[in-house]
Amino acid sequence: MTFIAKPKVAHPSLPKNALGFTRRDYEGALSTLCAGCGHDSITAAIVEASWGLALEPQNVVKLSGIGCSSKTTAYFVSGGHGFNSVHGRMPSIAMGANAANRSLHYIGVSGDGDTLSIGLGQFCHAIRRNLNMLYIIENNGVYGLTKGQFSASADVGSRAKKGETNFQPPIDPVLLAMTLGASFVARSFSGDKQQLVPLIQAGLRHQGFALIDVLSPCVTFNDHEGSTKSYAYTREHYEPAVHADFVPLEREITADYKEGETLPLIMHDGSRIVLRKLDAAYDPTNRTLAAAQIQERMKAGEYLTGLLFVDLEPAQSAFHVVNQTPDAPLNSIPFEVLSPGSKGLEKALARYR
């Protein structure tokens, strides 16, 4: 929690994006989270990613539920739209908004409690429906806002700040998403922006549901010895398996990639994700093998990170395909078209009589 306003001055040599904005233009209100919270780093990564993609702030929709994580939507892209929903119900709001306007960029930010406990049902169905959104879980293994009880993502054997040990097995959002058919599943760490920023960019550009589970240490209630989600523990146990570089359409690939080591994937808009396998045995394009490997490594106490599974084929199950949502936002469609009127209603009802 900080009481000093962040000075409005900026470094004069800050680079500008295609819209003429600097990183500072994608910031939001000053965070009131604890000093050192991983969530703030994720916020910074979202700021960096949005700036890098030159998103128009007015086309960004920020959605969240309840929890420390869910406060963070106030801390980035202050020019965007925002909705802070009921606990665990963010996916419903995202779906409604998405149905009304498919041309916006939807960023949902949730926590392990909001997603894996109270909101688990909503989360699963959002994946099933393949909503076109980026869903970020700020995963710290505890209920920070209520002073550090274990959450559904706490690992077996992990100890709470007061000393209790957790015996219940965790729900892993990555594995869950893969079994539910998600087409973009990633895991990252708040302390590794080099990995996280391109993942957010690719996730934002991905057509369909993109999940990034970000290990985000709770500096107040889960950064002690015995915790499996502390900064130190995460750094020791996280294994980057696949690094994903995001290359927007307008930029040429300039990095020096050796053939065989990299796998460029073309996205629907022509942008590319260049996958670089850091773990030669891992295959991020094979759902079954990837899931098996993630589980295996998890047993050994390692978090595989990076873009763990990706399938860029346009899915028949995509929300907009299934529901035939209009291209134009509903607010731009004339009222007469949107509302068939009483005569139209009669006609429609007649079909079911």
Partner: protein, 604 residues
Amino acid sequence: MEPTDTSRPDYYHRVVDCQWACPAHTDVPEYIRLIAQGRFTDAYMVNRESNVFPGILGRVCDRPCEPACRRGRVEQKPVAICRLKRVAADHRDEVSGRMPTTPKVKNGKRIACIGAGCASLTVANDLMPLGYEVTVFEQYGEPGGLMRSNIPSFRLPQTVLDEEIGMITQMGVDLRLSHPIRSLRELLSNGGFDAVFVGSGAPKGKELKLPGREAGAANVHIGITWLESVAFGHIGKIGERVLIIGVGNTAMDCCRSSLRLGAKSVKVMARKPRGFFKASEWELQDAEEESVEIVINHSPKSFVVTNGKLTGMLFDKMAYDIDAEGRITGERSLGEVLFPADDVILAIGQENAFPWIERDLGIEFDKWDVPRVDQQTFQSTRPEVFFGGDAAFGPKNIIWAVEHGHQAAISIHRHCQGEPVGERLAAGVNLQSRKMGMHEWSYSNDYTPVERRLMPHVSLKERFKKLNIEVELGFTAEQTADEVQRCLNCDVQTVFSAKLCIECDACIDICPVDCLTITHNGDEADLRARLKAPAKNLTQPLYVSAPLPQTQRVMVKDEDLCVHCGLCAERCPTAAWDMQKSYVHWPHAADEARVLQAKEPKIA
């Protein structure tokens, strides 16, 4: 890069750009904070400790601090440091009770100071409290040197000058006015002094030897001599049309004085374009505000004398070739131009002159006939003779002379105590945390976007009525309240302990000016390019931490644009960052005395 050694006093000193640029190392942020708290007397005393003449310097200092000010890099305009100094001096209470006391029992050493200017007065100020008997010889009837004779009273009122000089002379200095030294040999052999300090300034104005100079002599004046005559009331008027040759600060004083002595049209004739002017920007502005015309690209050719009287001056109109770096690569004359004039004042520089120092006293002079003086100790080649101020290394500003005085006083003290003058106390730095509570810091760290305040002036109608109407009115209470908040508190340092860092990135994310980066180490050029905002200002150092515990990466801070808001420390969960006030300790003679005393306890 190797981890930065912040235990070197220079490191944190340098971060305080103003204090680093100030020859006398004035603790600027400290006194600005005191002004902000309304503690004008305390602010004055902080100033006086290092620069001795806050009231005088608050008006006429050359302000090396201001171009250095960090605020000038963050926005365009630096903090009005000099103006704030004047605020402290103008609004302070009586300070006589806080002056250093002079012991009644003297230490038996006698010091002579030649010239009662700022350098000599500083020597007296530093040595009187230590028990020395200091005699100051002054050729004129009043003390002050060039501060009195060359700075017009509309810029520096006599009352201010008298008061601050009085603070020193009242310590019991034996001030011998109207007592020029004609022979140093005489003084050295018959004066009975243990050391002599030469602070006689650079009193010789440069001559311009052009045709007509002799014939027009009655109306051609040497700038500093002319100003002196004005200051002492020997000259009370000047012709209607005046030409000033040269465009330094003396020229500015000459042109503005002329306007007050009856001149109607005053032109300052510059040989080169504006970028090459020696005068401070603000002095140029003040002159132009008074309708002084500054004529560029005119090189003096001859004085025009008709019937034995000066009627004008002939100039070559010049054209210059200037390269991309702003240097002159070629010049040519475009033809002659005549400027009619009743008087011409030459303000093209000054130099020191020592006709009264015999050349066989063991004081070596170099090929330019300037004495050889040690840059650090100010000692000449004759051990008991010291030089300082303009007399040492040619014309500089008051603030330089003050520092020379401080350093010479240390040397004189060490010399008189039989200690080697070169082995002086080193500078030091103390750090003290400004953390008061969870979110409380004992300094005002809110960034205030207010712009630099402008000095209010006496109206153009009023100011010419008398020679000694001070033009600058001083900041109002509101202006002061705004201006103090512009200071970025650079002395409240960001101090980092690598071993506490958990690499959570909180500081990096919050830094408003992107000056922090955690990255893999590399050489300096490589690191500078890899920072979150590339560190392009090579004059500002990088701070590089020891390897961080979890990943062995390093914390790098580009000192260039840090606004010292303290958000890094505020956001740090482990207090690896802390905001600590740095006290740069720059030793004076009194400190030397304390240390020497502690080393050799007196045997009763």
